[in-house]
Symmetry: C2
Subunit: 338 residues, 2 copies
Amino acid sequence: MTKQESRSTLNVNHDTQPTIDTGYVVGVDIGGTNLRLALADMDGVVVGKWSYSIVGVNGVDAVMSLICDGVERLLREVSAPRHTLKSIAVGAPGITDVNEGIVIATSYLMGWRDVPLRALLENAFHVPAAIDNDVNLAAIGESWAGAAKGTRDFVFLAIGTGIGAGIVLNGHPFHGENWAAGEIGYMLIPGTPETPCERGKPGALESMIGGEGIRTQWQSLWSADGTTLPKDLTATQIFDHALAGDSLAQTILRQSARLLSLAIYNMSLVLNCPLFVLGGSVGTHPELCTATQNMLELWNMRRQPQLTRSALGADAQLMGALRLALDTIASRSSHLAG
Amino acid sequence: MTKQESRSTLNVNHDTQPTIDTGYVVGVDIGGTNLRLALADMDGVVVGKWSYSIVGVNGVDAVMSLICDGVERLLREVSAPRHTLKSIAVGAPGITDVNEGIVIATSYLMGWRDVPLRALLENAFHVPAAIDNDVNLAAIGESWAGAAKGTRDFVFLAIGTGIGAGIVLNGHPFHGENWAAGEIGYMLIPGTPETPCERGKPGALESMIGGEGIRTQWQSLWSADGTTLPKDLTATQIFDHALAGDSLAQTILRQSARLLSLAIYNMSLVLNCPLFVLGGSVGTHPELCTATQNMLELWNMRRQPQLTRSALGADAQLMGALRLALDTIASRSSHLAG
């Protein structure tokens, strides 16, 4: 318990007092470094959050066990009995078959293949469960309570360690034939390497403007003569230094913004979407957003899409999971009862 | 009339004898060089076709007048009274607001802007009318009676003089926010020029692999030492010569196939569509299709989309227009009656 305690964070809003008939839903985000849970009432008001560092934890059983712990703790903190839990929804970091409730594949870090996550959740909690790809859930979150409120067609572009797009069409996530729509980390544009996909390796675009890609670009251009900054910086640190005036950092920022603008431009030609929301730790950096917007204008499109930063930040996935959990009560209750 | 006769072609199937109660629909394709009409019965069986060269004809009034002539002639040829016409649908070569029935913009050749084509048709024929972009109609045609029968999600890729995509999602054309989805002639990929859009000029991808683009590429690489072929060849002639063994023609074919494979790859990452149908005079060339399929396999996608040639060829738009005309009877009759 000591180790677990040190890795976990619990926040509960004790202003919201539950009544005996209150129901709750749980949203879960399985991230690259943290497992995060939120408990909300039936109006979607968040009453508690719990997060736990899962660096080095990648087994399905271990993650499921942590989710169970987290749910118990959140319910306990608001003195809610177990039967008040009405549904749970989980965002998985990979290609997810929403209909069958199966995580088809996650990145090499997690290594999941064909995990029946929805069934595991329903067996554990005896409530309706739903799963989706984490970027799609972030898009749902922004659509429900963030930067895309009221917009029926938009793209949520997540740039963290990796890069992916959650496409919302007509108010619903668009998944594609094999649940792989929006896998734009592999996009080939002027300036990306022109190499075939390799399983377990970042795609061409991701290798340039994913968080790790930007870091690698920095290191490959770095020299002691070229900058006074250290060789080991994160993408967001590099963008901070670009704002502060470092010329090498500005070069990396410009290159990243140029490639990102090209990816958005190409997606926009295909989808003719009015709005792109930038999310993820790298994607929400204000310097990247501004520089990308400027680059995008250079391409002189007939209809310039609007570019904006995520309003929910790191909570986007979690809010999307809560929205999905709320929607799941109606759509799945009858199925379970049958 | 003499001039018109020399430019027009009429084909009627006299095996199909109309009864007094037979109804008909008309589909129209306004192409770059020909205006084409088809008359079909209520089962969608084509009973007559009419085409007319419109090279040099680009005024709205002139085109409308020709459509009226064509409809009259087709009805007369099957001895059908005017009241048997139940609906008409027209494919326009440009960005088309399907809801309002307005052609927003066509290419510089035609130069139409904000033409209320649906209202013009309804005023002329007093039947429900509908319009859509010609590439979208070709996609509908292939979906109804061609290479995409039974496929709910696919992309029809038209390569003629220009290049455009008709995206079908969940069985319906996907239009985008401003009716401009699928405008992929502007796509920027490794190997295209990296220049902003210019109004009235072909886009980056179109300038390389549209019919005119391929012709220009040939001319720019051509030298009397490099090939025994003439400097002035069409795209399809160049591809024919590639099959026959000319090495410069093979270079052009490879370059075209490589760029087309990259465009399909990028679209596929966004949409995760299982099928791409190649249409248009250049797109249906078998050598281009085979070479592009081979290139596409090099990119090593998780799910390789199937690539196939249009089954309807030059009739794809016309068949899509007929399908739209048939669908329009139900959806628009009540509107007109109101």
